[in-house]
């Protein structure tokens, strides 16, 4: 083995070690973080103040750098699954045209969006490719082009898609994706429109 490849092996071992550590080393006292949060944001109302308070899921995802050990991941997954609510009529697939509209819209919940002048969007294109026609798409999430076709438009896949959008942590604990339903960003009716965008045969996603 030459010198460069032995360096690579050492580097690989170090990277592997760093990856398995997972948990964040807290080098700063929690009280200091709390004090900084208190003075750091305008927090004019209790609603805004509440946005800085982490629930158990966010506390754990932050603590484990979004790579929770198995037992923690199972807890997060279970509580995410329990949070999912379905539309009253049980229909999980809505109107893909409305879904496309909300996938395009990044409006809502920003501190300049009050009082709200438009419905809150899902902003899906910020992170995902969805249709061939929209070239301005982000890449933080996987491409969803052809999603319904790949999933064969099955009823199981429709349900799984609804659940993923409602609370992504039910599928991937500590996912980067917002809990759009559980956090009240989108309504169950909006979520089924987004499901329609992904899972309808006539949606531009599946053209």
């Amino acid at each position: 083995m030459n010198r460069i490849s032995s360096y690579l092996v050492v580097a690989g071992v170090l990277v592997a070690a760093a990856c398995t550590l997972g948990e964040r080393k807290m080098t700063v006292a929690p009280e200091l973080i709390d004090a900084a949060l208190k003075g750091g944001w305008a927090a004019s109302t209790p609603e805004w103040l509440a946005r800085h308070t982490q629930d158990e899921t966010m506390r754990l995802c932050t603590q484990y750098n979004n790579e929770p050990p198995k037992a923690v991941a199972a807890t997060i997954e279970a509580s995410a699954r329990a949070s999912i609510k379905y539309p009253a009529d049980g229909k999980l697939i809505g109107d893909w045209r409305q879904g496309e509209r909300l996938a395009q819209s990044g409006y809502g919940m920003r501190f300049t969006d009050y009082p709200a002048r438009n419905p809150t969007g899902g902003n899906c294109y910020a992170c995902h490719q969805l249709s061939e026609a929209e070239v301005s798409y982000g890449t933080l999430g996987p491409s969803l082009l052809g999603y319904g076709k790949i999933k064969d438009f099955t009823a199981e896949a429709i349900k799984a898609t609804y659940e993923k959008i409602y609370n992504s942590h039910a599928v991937l604990p500590c996912s980067n994706m917002p809990r759009l339903g559980a956090n009240g960003v989108l309504t169950p009716e909006q979520i089924r429109d987004a499901v329609a965008l992904l899972m309808s045969r006539d949606s531009p996603v599946n053209k």
């Binding site: 900084a36 003075g39 082009l145 790949i150 956090n183």
Partner: protein, 255 residues
């Protein structure tokens, strides 16, 4: 199999998009004298020379050259760590500047010029242009600020569950067409942190680091970051620590 077939032409399209974006970024930087931010640096210089000749940015009263490269730092007279903008505001307060009024609206709206504090910060930063970030970290409060900034940078909260790392811990990812720097890695942080304050073409004004951070929290659906707060300074301390050794090129010109 299906996914592989779909993703091959996509990768090509993505490369073409990235190449076109890179060309646009290059064109912005081709003629450095076309940067409108230089006018704000000039305005800031005038303001500094009329109001702040006694202001100590860490290198002695009135000394501007190279000061920005060593900020944020601990200031004994204020008993806290301050970044350039926070320190400038602290100095202005001593001259009778209305801080309360300023804090109600510290940043320009789109198309409006950067405010006085930001213009002075642009001037101060420009006098470290070409130098490398070397913020001191010997004082316990300076260490604490970096650690606090690290914790805040990684802290997920708000209705979207975002932390700064949601966007800035993936290499080469984009939001829509905007590339996202991998700010947790020194190699990437060194390239971009020194570009602030920068003239932002899409906003038609100079945007300072305090403003840039506020803008991130807006996107993250969290509350307004308070100008000069410990949180805002700590985030800057953390980013500058990651960018240590990186060159300052302020004011830059941004998309």
């Amino acid at each position: 199999m299906c996914a592989a077939l779909v993703s091959a032409p996509l990768a090509l399209a993505q490369d073409a998009t990235e190449a076109a974006l890179e060309k646009y970024r290059r064109m912005l930087k081709d003629d450095p004298w076309s940067n409108p931010g230089l006018l704000d640096a000039d305005r800031g210089e005038e303001l500094w020379k009329t109001k702040l000749t006694a202001c100590d940015l860490g290198k002695g009263p009135g000394k501007v050259e190279g000061a920005f490269a060593e900020l944020p730092r601990f200031f004994a007279d204020a008993d806290r760590v301050m970044d350039a903008e926070t320190r400038i505001l602290w100095c202005l307060e001593k001259t009778g500047f209305n801080v309360a009024a300023f804090l109600r609206s510290p940043h320009p709206a789109g198309g409006q010029p950067v405010k006085e504090v930001g213009a002075i910060a642009t001037y101060v930063a420009s006098k470290s242009s070409g130098m490398k970030f070397a913020a001191p970290t010997a004082h316990p409060k300076e260490k604490e600020a970096v650690a606090l900034g690290d914790a805040l940078f990684n802290r997920r909260a708000g209705p979207f569950d975002f932390s700064c790392t949601t966007c800035h811990a993936s290499d080469g990812a984009r939001i829509r067409l905007q590339g996202l720097p991998l700010l947790i890695e020194p190699a990437a942080a060194r390239k971009v942190i020194g570009e602030w304050p920068g003239y932002r073409v899409s906003n038609a004004h100079v945007m300072t680091m305090q403003h840039r951070l506020l803008d991130c929290y807006w996107q993250m659906r969290q509350d307004r970051l308070v100008f000069g707060s410990d949180a805002s300074v700590a985030l800057t301390s953390y980013l500058v620590a990651n960018a240590k050794g990186g060159e300052i090129s302020a004011p830059s010109i941004k998309r």
